[in-house]
Symmetry: C2
Subunit: 583 residues, 2 copies
Amino acid sequence: MSHQQALTKYIAAFISELVKNGVEDVVVSPGSRSTPMAMVMAEHPDLQVHIHVDERSAAFFALGIAKGTKRPVAILCTSGTAAANYYPAIIEAFYSRVPLLVFTADRPHELRDIGAPQAIDQIQMYGKHVKWFAEMAPPENGPSMINYVRTAAVRAVATAKRNPEGPVHMNFPFREPLIPDLNDPEIFLSSSREQKYMTVSPSILTVDDAQFDTIAQTVSTHNKGMIICGPMDDADLSHKIVELGKALQFPIIADPLSQLRSGCHEQSQIIDAYDAILKSETAKVELQPELIIRFGAMPVSKPLLLFMKQYPETRQLIVDGGGGFRDPSLLSTDMIYCDEKQFCEELILRANTFAIKENGYLTLWQDVNEVAKKEMVKVLEIEQLNEGKIFAQLGQLLPEESTIFVGNSMPIRDLDSFYFINNKSMRILGNRGANGIDGTISTALGVAMYTQPLYLIVGDLTFFHDLNGLIVSKLYHIPITIIVINNNGGGIFSFLPQSEHPKHFELLFGTPLNIDFSHSVTMFGGDYIKVEDWQQFSEAIATETSHLKVIEVMTNRENNVKEHRNLWESVSREIDKRIKDEE
Amino acid sequence: MSHQQALTKYIAAFISELVKNGVEDVVVSPGSRSTPMAMVMAEHPDLQVHIHVDERSAAFFALGIAKGTKRPVAILCTSGTAAANYYPAIIEAFYSRVPLLVFTADRPHELRDIGAPQAIDQIQMYGKHVKWFAEMAPPENGPSMINYVRTAAVRAVATAKRNPEGPVHMNFPFREPLIPDLNDPEIFLSSSREQKYMTVSPSILTVDDAQFDTIAQTVSTHNKGMIICGPMDDADLSHKIVELGKALQFPIIADPLSQLRSGCHEQSQIIDAYDAILKSETAKVELQPELIIRFGAMPVSKPLLLFMKQYPETRQLIVDGGGGFRDPSLLSTDMIYCDEKQFCEELILRANTFAIKENGYLTLWQDVNEVAKKEMVKVLEIEQLNEGKIFAQLGQLLPEESTIFVGNSMPIRDLDSFYFINNKSMRILGNRGANGIDGTISTALGVAMYTQPLYLIVGDLTFFHDLNGLIVSKLYHIPITIIVINNNGGGIFSFLPQSEHPKHFELLFGTPLNIDFSHSVTMFGGDYIKVEDWQQFSEAIATETSHLKVIEVMTNRENNVKEHRNLWESVSREIDKRIKDEE
């Protein structure tokens, strides 16, 4: 058998096995060394090949597809710095637990570390940010090689999908000639084990009944309990948590990415204004908890973190079916490695045996939440364009079944402050693994690939950082509406202590770019709308689009800080009043 | 002493020591965790702070400043994926031996690996692509900490500058509050050792006299010797190599980045058409060498590599003052770790004692070079816009003291083919460490920061890959002329075997973007000129510019391949004729 045939069989067996294990999409960046795998991928009838020239954006685009579809997604690039461009998205995938299959083509061993072109050290080049790394054998002929490569494919997908989900990296050394033999119509047929080569059991972490009893005992013997939900994206789990909250009569602090602020579930115990509430010292004192149950990653709210830190004696249970260690507060008392849905079910079962004592804690939270929201919704009365109001209107303006992708830095925080509970069926996503501003457009477009309609909300620096990402909207006609909040620079820094040190502030933190994005939007075949007032904003949102639509809202960093602070002050004032009235 | 004062003194001592050791520029990307270092950097009167929002481009921009000035350049970013965006430029710096000081801010130890925002694993996150990694101590007070941090600064610069030059990475954990105390006007004054804290000797690699005698003996006992010069950027060395060539009567094969094709040096022995020549089988036979002396990195020419591989018995000396192993041919017989200039001097000294035998080898090379160039310059007669002719005209069109930065993929190869010897004082640079198409605009702008005039020549995919890089031209008013050769896709693949497999070719390799770059150029405040003929091209080049100027030349991938092949065929034909005539 020729080199070419051995190469083809090896790769075809691998690709075929990937598809059998649920891989439907691959994002390929053009290159020479990756030629054999790219060509075999393009040949597979059930694999969707997306092309993206910029590997940084390509990897984020794949991340978005994986987030949106919850399927493992593959990326392929050539050797050299191409692979290094994948790094930011891989890190995000690792920390946000998204299954990404990273395939890098490499020079064969005899061409490494000797100054050959596009040859870098690709062995474990993503450090500890992948769940598994495999340096693959150079393609050779023989049944044992086919078994090897099929096993590797099964293992790669299973590892990426196993909880906690995450990226895996496989490095493939390919020798020239690099052209596969695509004349054989049966390259994807397996001579043995025609279906999957093997399966890996989809296991979950759990604890035994005695443990559940102990946990239930702990929960039942503490008053003033609360549930805190960080970013998560599982509708079933959201419902279970609501049930658990009801069974325990606990308020549920719902991060905007918890999927608990929108939807048809019972919402009376959901607290959505905690970020504003917990800026009030009075509220922090009155709301002191005795027990906290946390689900998901850490919520974005800093006041919430400071509130938790104020009471280190609080019993704090963290439930993590992924077996991680997500507690930047360093205050957890019980780390419970257990599938979250099972945890809820077991606890609900046992809660029926508790005598739930009405202690007024839930009512107090509900009460101050109402007071706070009454003030926060006043943002809707501001006539001039304003950052908070954009988020306050989303629930009303966006259609049912929308997905919102929210940028980091200010937008996620404004969403936290101003996106109030509503009954629409919305899904809200963001890159909260490493919280970077990079790759946001591409991630959102990846989600939009199979999930419509999609609304992305970003600041101008985040929009700028991934401008190249817009190309796939043009090339693949992916509809997306992007709201760019343009305050000409880094708005978040105006909320940080450096804003009080004017000397180097604009240079280092303000960083105005002074660019007119309409040019770029036009280049990428999009519609650009700069809105001047709220009427235009609503209309722009409502306009149907079959491709890229960018709505730019110009705001002012200084006014923005003032408006936020005014609202928070009035929330604190009203809460103080209410609490004094009750005493 | 307060946390704030200790933080400030620690960082100020570090920055001050960097400046004393020759660091003049730092490229800062805005972020929160890096606040104390960014503010202290901005405060230092002798440190130029450049701001760049996109960390990928920022690192390449710094790489360019370092390439242009030959000074070590620092980059600073916040924690998280920001740091991952540095990876491509760091890899390029490592393989192209450029001194880059990479400073990443990090969360302190107690906030790592517990799900804190923007906290990733930054320990050795660039793998083996840095020369030195240091996880720095969290800033504390006391003279021993100041001595520590000053030593670390000296060591970082010395390590980056020591041959082979390259990147170093220092990770700085900073605790809140992050604002330094800039009220003390004396923060940069040292209480002891007012100048540098210490020095590290600037050593060179060398061999002893007996070794030089042996080498000279080897060289003198082989006929048909040639010198091959790859990428290098040291005018003194170029002159020494010319002298060595003269002393030995060896032809000098000069890669376009060897700095040997332009300048006031003696050029009669410089061979510039070897890439076309060595496509002729006859020439490859007639030109068989017995000895090769190689300087610099591996040249770009594939025919040259194949020529070397055809004669594995050739004695091949590689001279590398950086002590690397840059031999992808795997044919070297003598790896000589010795400062290149010293090597030339010692060999010239000894060559005077040789009886140089006129064996016709140099003359043959000169002869076929003349024949080949007579054909290659016919590219100048092509009337329609054409890729080769752009490069053939550069020597004539660009002014004295120009710097050319050349993109990878096709442009570097066309420069190799069509940039002929000339007497102008030109410097030609490219990213030939890992040969990526990423970061090219930013690297060129980094060079242009202090080196004018600067001409960048890139293909459309390379231009697209680093569009964001254009922002610094706008923000810092850096003049640059960019020639974009737009063949709407990946032109190089049309020269590779996959071009004969049309089925997936356009999808995977052609990758047309179909975008009009004029929009983007306008957005970044540049002048955009699309040229329709050669007259317009010359005029566009000649136009003075004080900022960004982009000249777009539309070409056709298919025609391009045909025109190249026609020229190469006529070169081979003429060489065959000439050699037969002589026999």
